[in-house]
Amino acid sequence: MDKLVDRCLAAFLLLFAIGNLAALPSQQWTHHSGPKVLAPAFFPEFLFIGLALLSVLLIAATFVERGYQTDFEAPRLSGVVLGMALLAFSLAVPHLGFVISAMALCLVVMVAMGERRVVRLVAVSAAAPLIMTWLAGQVLHVVFP
């Protein structure tokens, strides 16, 4: 299982690097008449080549290394769902406003963490965004959407 996960990771990195290398223009120098200036794509290309080589090394290590071990830890549904909730929160801010979105986020996270006391749910999710935005507005003169 350890080896398979790392092979998948390495294959993903390899595809990512090769895909970008194929998409980037293969131009080493800018077309200037003066001194030789490296093209903007050169440095990223250099890094993508390094990444591709490392991915190949990682795949090779899973085959060659005896007793291969990895740091992989399977993500849990709660972590992924909360991550998505954070992304949804940041996308909702321009439409719903910061305070309303933050209240909803607070509520979702508290429920996801197993909080079931209604008074605490309402109090914390309402008070935390209100207090923080008020403080930031007073001290740093920030206008929240």
Binding site: V37, L38, L47, S55, G79, L86, F89, S90, V109, L140
Partner: protein, 516 residues
């Protein structure tokens, strides 16, 4: 004389001293809270320092950092729950002392060692920084590129279990740093038509996402898996101020007997901290191992030896200042916290690196003074605040984490007034979470992101000066030395890991024989 004058100017401003004290209190809170640590604390407070003067802002962050590192040991000693990985070594003997009814001695030794460690680290920073910066000022772009490659390889190599994954994480960080406008030609790269990306990724969004958001996601996930709060676990007594003050306090004789341990561990910690890569955890465990090796009674370690508390805490706290040496003198953040401090300097319009010593000598002198002042203030503030901070351990996590999340987003928005930065922060939170799960070290990614722009600039300038001749990197003896050191360091890491894997395999194969 000039230093005294600057010192007087800095200390006569009550704002600076107030910020140090506030930073220490906040640091102790963040350090003592489960799942939070000094790095998250500094990253969270960073956006709120924007309106402060650079000296006041950095005083607040220095206080927060030192307070957080010290307080990480409190839950480790009293509850056997290390607040940070570097505090794990302290819990071995610290908690054993608490169980023997000597909690006051353990916390006293921890505070004494932390303050002494911080001071030794400060003195090391003051002694080494200026001479090293004057050497670095003589470096050209080729030498800097060699140095960046070396530092990044070391950080990548020691950050995770796998050398390949560590360097891959660093390369990904460098790639993210190329998003935006090319410095020399002004061409947009990887912006995909998104206007907000033309200025590059906001450093604060990336730091907050990678360190704070991803950490909170992991903590929330863990809290669903384990007991909801320490206080609800019947096996673990709830933290009380009484636990901290159990038994007699540290005597003068004990303090004197701890002095050689503290000095040795502080010196070792200050040295390890200055090397890009290893950091506080290595320093704490190395100090503990050294003290155990030198002890006449090594068997007492792990069973409640005061030296087992003082050594890791002194070593750990001594890295606080010395870990910033590569940042101040070479512009290289050698550890995650240094990357956050680098971000703090940049937010205040200061480019970290040797030029700081020439361009802003007042700020550098003021910072050195504030480092020492913070260490001295840690003693009274630590003594007063640590007992109250323990009450925070009983705070329900279902309240703590949502509040910290909202605080993070408020801080990032307050800094830039851009909703795009909120999206970037969430995205980097998810990327950081995925990287942690896949075993790709987030610290190497962040350090590489901070180094990305100067590294590319050094590479391009070296090529420009040499008119496109790539041999310029091996013609310079200093750059060549760095490249050789990089190869040697990689070889050493591979060899060391291969050896430890072989010894583990050997032990595994011995087990059945032993059983037989």
């Amino acid at each position: 004389m000039e230093l005294i004058d600057i010192g007087w100017q800095v200390l006569s401003n009550p704002m600076n001293l107030g910020m140090v004290a506030l930073g220490l209190v906040l640091g102790i809170v963040f350090g003592a809270l489960p799942g939070l640590n000094a790095i998250i604390g500094v990253a969270l407070v960073l956006p709120f320092t924007f309106t402060l003067s650079p000296v006041a802002a950095l005083s607040l962050l220095i206080g927060l950092y030192k307070g957080g590192v010290y307080a990480g040991s409190l839950p480790a000693i009293l509850l056997n729950i290390p607040g940070a990985p570097e505090a794990a070594a302290t819990s071995l003997d610290g908690n054993a002392l608490v169980r023997r009814g000597q909690g006051a001695k353990a916390t006293g030794a921890s505070l004494l060692a932390s303050v002494s460690g911080c001071l030794v680290g400060d003195l090391f920073l003051i002694a080494v920084a200026a001479p090293l910066a004057s050497v670095a000022l003589k470096f050209g772009p080729a030498e800097f590129f060699g140095l960046f490659v070396f530092s990044l390889t070391i950080v990548g190599a020691v950050s995770g279990r796998s050398l390949t994954k560590g360097i891959a994480a660093a390369l990904l960080g460098l790639l993210v740093a190329t998003i935006g406008m090319d410095q020399i030609t002004g061409t947009s790269r990887f912006t995909f038509g998104v206007f907000e990306l033309s200025g590059g990724i906001s450093l604060l969004s990336l730091i907050m996402g990678m360190f704070a958001i991803s950490e909170i996601l992991v903590q929330i996930e863990d809290s669903r898996r384990t007991a909801p709060a320490p206080s609800s676990d019947p096996a673990t007594p709830p933290p009380t101020t009484a636990t901290a003050s159990t038994g007699k306090h540290l005597t003068i004789r004990e303090m004197i007997s701890l002095a050689p341990t503290i000095l040795r561990s502080s010196a070792l910690g200050a040295f390890i901290g200055a090397i890009p890569g290893p950091g506080a955890t290595t320093s704490a465990f190395a100090s503990y191992a050294l003290e155990r090796q030198l002890s006449n009674d090594p068997g007492s370690f792990g069973k409640g030896n005061l030296k087992g508390v003082a050594a890791p805490d002194a070593g750990n706290n001594a890295t606080c200042s010395s870990t910033l040496i590569p940042l101040f003198t070479l512009g290289i953040p050698g550890a995650p916290i240094a990357a956050v401090f680098g971000g703090a300097l940049m937010i205040h319009g200061i480019t970290p690196g040797p030029a700081m010593f020439n361009n802003d000598p007042f700020l550098i002198s003021a910072l050195m003074i504030m480092f020492v002042v913070t260490s001295f203030l840690l003693f009274p503030v630590g003594l007063a605040a640590s007992r109250s901070a323990l009450r925070l351990l009983s705070l329900p996590r279902s309240v703590l984490y949502p509040v910290v999340l909202v605080l993070s987003y408020t801080g990032v928005y307050a800094n830039s007034s851009s909703t795009f930065d909120l999206i970037a922060m969430s995205a980097f939170g998810l990327i950081g979470y995925a990287m942690r799960k896949a075993g790709l070290p987030a610290s190497a990614f962040v350090v590489a992101f901070v180094l990305g722009a100067p590294m590319e600039s050094a590479f391009k300038r070296a090529m420009l000066i040499s008119n496109g001749d790539a041999t310029t990197f091996v013609q310079s003896p200093i750059a060549l030395t760095f490249f050789i050191l990089t190869i040697l360091a990689c070889a050493a890491v591979v060899w060391q890991r291969h050896r430890s894997a072989a010894s583990l395999e050997g032990r595994g194969s011995e087990k059945p024989d032993a059983a037989a």
